[in-house]
Symmetry: C2
Subunit: 697 residues, 2 copies
């Protein structure tokens, strides 16, 4: 018989009944909100709760639950740190500052958040302590754990982080598998969130009601990358990338974890325009970085992916003095700042994949006169771009790192590309106990340390880094602006190999997934639209140009062969003209996996550039030009799909045309199936005097 | 054994094999394209086919199928007219013209299409003839059947129209049921297209790949309205609204059917911004229509829906001289052009629903001094707005129509509202053979004729019409600009009745469904947010204001009681200021049923107005103000949801604030759950000289 019925029959007076009524359920108290913090515009609210000493958090947006009660804490080697906790202290603060990027999608970044720090401590036992710090923005939030110095704990050996994200609204997810062999290089899956097993971040969601979410992390320093494992329903659990040591992370106290981030927007474009990840990173640690050079570059590269030339020495060796000289000439003639050369050093001759012990980073092969080429490049105003493929022999590379970087510095190389091609997604690590090599994931603590070491050593020599098969981007370019770009997704080379090539929706998906992390060296611009053995690349000609605007990187490759550019001079002109460093960037419109239109303003001129790409379906997108400077006429140099263009049947149908437009005009941007459009807007009038709207920001 | 295998075994030479291979399938020839036409920008292609004499059509967009092979033709009383047809003649032409609306969402409308007319005739039998005429625009198409004068056919008795729409991409539909009792007044259903039984138009679809479609009709004159019945899969069949006569339509030749229309857009807003329906109607047939007055109005109306007053005579009769005088005073004081009075005439005292034989449209009730009130209104610069509720006694109304309209003309009434409230969705029609009354649907040929008769008779007297419980809008306001507005969807009165009220998504749905047809007299502005018996209306305060911009009508009611407006003077100010006639209108962003933001420029000033509404979820929408005149500062008068607003728990949390902005600014428009935002932009600077971009249109 239920308690209430018992009480009724006993005719207990009603007030007394209510008191008694609470006895049974109230023995276990409900989770208690111990602190909460709103975003500056009161759009988001984050609450920290304790449920009998167990911490959790919730996120509401405009009064609606987005993240339901989700655990916080750790499984440490010396016992779980997620229970019997009490609040020791709490602090709030508000920050509203604007900082300047040395390079980037936009020059000025506003950092406007409310912060809540809650210090928690175990009530009994070893009385271990840590804090949870929330920074809440109008368009997202980050939180991290902070381990202060404390008597009972010198270091943390983390077996698992217990952070959860219980997504409340029913959602569709775009994701790539974690714990899989090809280090991020997958086509994005689109599935119900309820069907995701284990995924990497950025992890992008759209709810049935049109709310867009992305989970990622910021400032991944000396820690393991966070994967997301789905539990019950739509509950996601942090799962740290493993280590060969057994634990996931080992750190001496004090230390902070990376920020766990959640971007939230009503529009898909809002995710892309968000500065959350950069804002949560530490400011520039390098001081004057005028030696970091955003640039376009070409390279001795695509011919190897076509199987026309080889990385290995011999009659087809690509990295020869004569060949590279030809590329330098082409770069100088067409305004490219760099020439990448792969295969320039010994070690490529055998099977080097996952087997990089033979790479020598301090000597060139005999047919590559690196000193003469560097001098020749310098004379022509071009930099050689270095290349260090490790074949996953990471410590073998570290052994040579100082000498290798000294060589580049001496030669005038300003940027180098690294590579970590393995056969199973894991790199080699020497076994300190002897015995067979250990294996480490691309995004575990071991590799987080390695990548940052390379970047820091490079910075000492004024070199910039472009890492391929990298650890994921978490915004460290803010702190280390010489970390220019990286790969970390399925790039253009899959279109050379064709197994299978990247379907048109892939590049649209990238904008709303991978690109949320930061710049990607996708290596666009294959105007020949042809891969290995004549394979067709699923793209129109105009689309290849649009990629320079839609897929942001401060270094952009013109990846095709020089002779192919000369066959498509009309289209190539856009690649010559397009900027790589921006005053401002804005997503005008887009839907994940369907289409996207982005505009960016050149940092070094008054030009604007527009890029628009679609999936396998043609589109007609009305684009209002209100982003242009008011009262100024612009020459719109339009590079578009021809009327009969189609990525499968008629990819080369292409039109270059000009119109005069102003900020009041609206364009109908027509994209062929698998197509794209690129526009350069060149001002024809001087800049008008400002209308003076200081009051309006 | 398959034929091919037989041939292979016979070792027939391969060329011969291919020829033989065709024998079996080719005995029945494939449908043959007899003509096709592209849209001006080569975005759409429509093809007409004959398959052994049976006509069908297909629609492709940017090379992809949108409408698969779909039948054309008629089931006539004297035999099907859809087979054994041959092409007699065909004509193409291109039109690019711009016409001016006397009032509307925009002043100038471009009408740019390619037309294909194909004349078909029966090869045998009675050799009946008809033509199919396609007009193909970049954002949609219309087609209609044309029956020319011909020897063997004096009239057409149409039992059914056989037009089909076979939607190719998998789609979700937003729709209301046809053949149902409450004449269009339903909440919109959102279902897979494959689950729709029988629906009205406009019928809105979104494909899985983000293509937006709407099926409707234009220029429904002397014909039955088209319903859509789903057949197999995603194939929709036209099903004409029935007639008590048994047939659906009876017309003497020559005649044209209404246009069957298909709007196609990559964005939801593109459907709303399309001018297709208006363009397919005939130009203004009334000549000078300077006597048609877009205006805001108030009315003796909401108090009856609240059950505070009655239409019927007696102590609670609303339409009294004193009460109306109070409304006239309020209208004059606050700039309203009209005062609607319902219940002013005899006939309301009993049960008049579906039983309107007692209505007298030529006399006022004794307590309503119509002459004195008209004179009083005229003195105050206000018009009385007439009202004719028929209670579905349509011919009873027609009998009095001349006298009733003469009365209004004499009294200076410039607009009148009609009503057709029945108890089962059908109106009464006298039985020419005697006997019980016949019943006719609201959108059959009988009512199509009736409504146009009222509009034409009204035009003769310079009166404008606002029809409630009407036939659906098909753009006839272009031809008859005195057909100002109408109802034809679930309006505000459901929020008074609360059975159930309109949930927030309803008004968002309306924008992308009902409003595609034309203006709606939704009667917004219930600032009390309270219905009958204190029922809460599911809306925030700011949202009520936003409805004036998002739900277009050239006559907009301020539907609440005057005393309620005086209780909310801050919010009411927007209703006083908002325009009703526009130079231009534009959907800035929106998703069907989720949210929408629309901006419109006043036709009689340089002011712009913005309205944004959401469903039950809060939103934060980035709104670039590029639509404003460049180089001009504007005072943005912002009427927004307060930070804690919520349509369920805190609907009155509201802020009115001002900022100075220019076309370069971007606003973060924050909408509460069930909320909205309204902004008036008032220029602070004179209009700058034009930058002169004639070349850019």
């Amino acid at each position: 018989m239920p308690l209430f019925e018992v009480l009724s029959r006993l005719r207990v007076p009603s007030l007394l009944a209510s008191v008694l009524w609470c006895v049974a359920p109230c023995l276990h108290a409900a989770p208690q909100t111990v602190a909460s913090v709103d975003s500056p515009g009161k759009i988001l609210r984050v609450s920290l709760q304790l449920d009998d000493g167990r911490p959790s958090y919730r996120v509401q947006r405009l009064g609606e639950a987005v993240i339901g009660e989700s655990r916080l804490g750790f499984q440490l080697r010396d016992g779980a740190l997620d229970r019997d906790l009490a609040v020791l202290d709490q602090h709030s603060r508000s920050v509203d500052e604007t900082w300047e990027q040395p390079w980037g999608e936009r020059r000025y970044v506003r950092n406007h958040y409310n912060e809540l720090r809650v210090d928690l401590g175990e009530r009994g036992g070893r009385q271990r302590r840590f804090a949870v710090v929330f920074r809440v923005y109008d368009d997202g939030l980050g939180f991290r754990y902070s381990f202060p110095q404390q008597p009972g704990m010198q270091e943390a050996v983390i077996d698992e982080e217990l952070t959860e994200f219980d997504i409340v609204p029913d959602a569709t997810a775009w994701w790539i598998p974690a714990g899989a062999p090809i280090h991020y290089e997958y086509l994005y899956r689109r599935t119900p969130l309820r069907e995701v097993p284990l995924a990497h971040t950025p992890f992008t969601l759209r709810s049935q009601d049109g709310l867009h979410l992305a989970i990622h992390e910021a400032a991944l320093v000396d820690y393991a990358g966070m994967w997301l494992r789905r539990g019950e329903g739509q509950r996601l659990h942090a799962q740290l990338s493993p280590s060969a040591d057994g634990w996931k992370v080992r750190r001496a106290l004090p230390f902070d974890t990376p920020w766990r981030t959640l971007q939230i927007s009503d529009t898909a474009g809002g995710l892309v325009d968000s500065n959350l990840i950069l804002n949560l990173n530490e400011p520039n640690a390098l001081g004057d970085v005028s030696w970091v050079h955003p640039a376009k570059y070409i390279g001795v590269w695509w011919s190897m992916h076509l199987n026309q030339e080889t990385w290995a020495r011999g009659p087809t060796h690509a990295a020869t003095t004569a060949n590279t000289r030809r590329y330098i000439d082409f770069a100088a003639a067409h305004g490219f700042g760099g020439v990448l050369v792969e295969g320039w050093n010994p070690g490529w001759d055998g099977n080097w994949v996952g087997n990089g012990d033979h790479f020598d980073f301090t000597r060139a092969t005999a047919d590559f006169d690196i000193d003469a080429l560097s001098a020749y490049a310098a004379k022509k105003g071009v930099h050689l771009i270095g290349h260090h493929e490790t074949g996953c022999a990471v410590e073998h590379y570290e052994d040579q790192l100082d000498a290798a970087l000294d060589l580049y510095a001496r030669l005038g190389v300003d940027t180098f590309k690294t590579g970590y091609v393995c056969d199973d997604g894991q790199v080699d690590r020497r076994n300190p106990a002897g015995g067979p090599l250990l294996r480490e994931w691309h995004d575990g603590q071991f590799m987080a340390r390695h990548h940052l070491k390379v970047v820091q050593e490079a910075a000492r020599r004024h070199l910039s880094v472009n890492a391929h098969e990298p650890i994921k981007d978490t915004g460290l370019r803010r702190t280390y602006p010489n970390w220019l770009s990286r790969e970390g997704a399925r790039g253009m080379e899959y279109n050379a190999w064709g197994e299978p090539p990247n379907p048109p929706e892939h590049e649209v998906n990238l904008v709303f997934t991978r690109m949320l992390a930061g710049p990607m060296d996708y290596t666009p611009g294959i105007l020949s639209l042809t891969g290995r053995g004549g394979r067709a690349i699923p793209s129109t000609l105009a689309r290849q140009l649009a990629l320079y605007v839609t897929l942001y990187s401060p270094i952009q490759m013109a990846a095709d062969l020089p002779e192919h550019y000369l066959q498509h001079r009309d289209a190539f002109r856009f690649i010559e003209d397009v900027a790589v460093d921006w005053d401002d960037s804005r997503v005008l419109d887009g839907e994940i996996g369907d289409y996207v239109t982005i505009v960016r303003k050149d940092r070094h001129s008054r030009d604007w550039f527009l890029g628009s790409i679609t999936d396998e379906h043609g589109r007609v997108l009305p684009i209002a030009l209100g982003f242009l400077e008011p009262g100024v006429r612009y020459r719109a140099e339009i590079y578009r799909d021809g009327d009969a263009a189609d990525y499968q049947h008629n990819p080369f149908d292409f039109v270059r045309e000009q119109r005069v437009v102003t900020s009041r005009d609206q364009l109908q941007v027509k994209l062929a199936p698998g197509g794209g459009q690129a526009i350069r807007f060149v001002p024809l009038d001087p800049a008008p005097a400002s209308a003076g709207t200081a009051a309006s920001r």
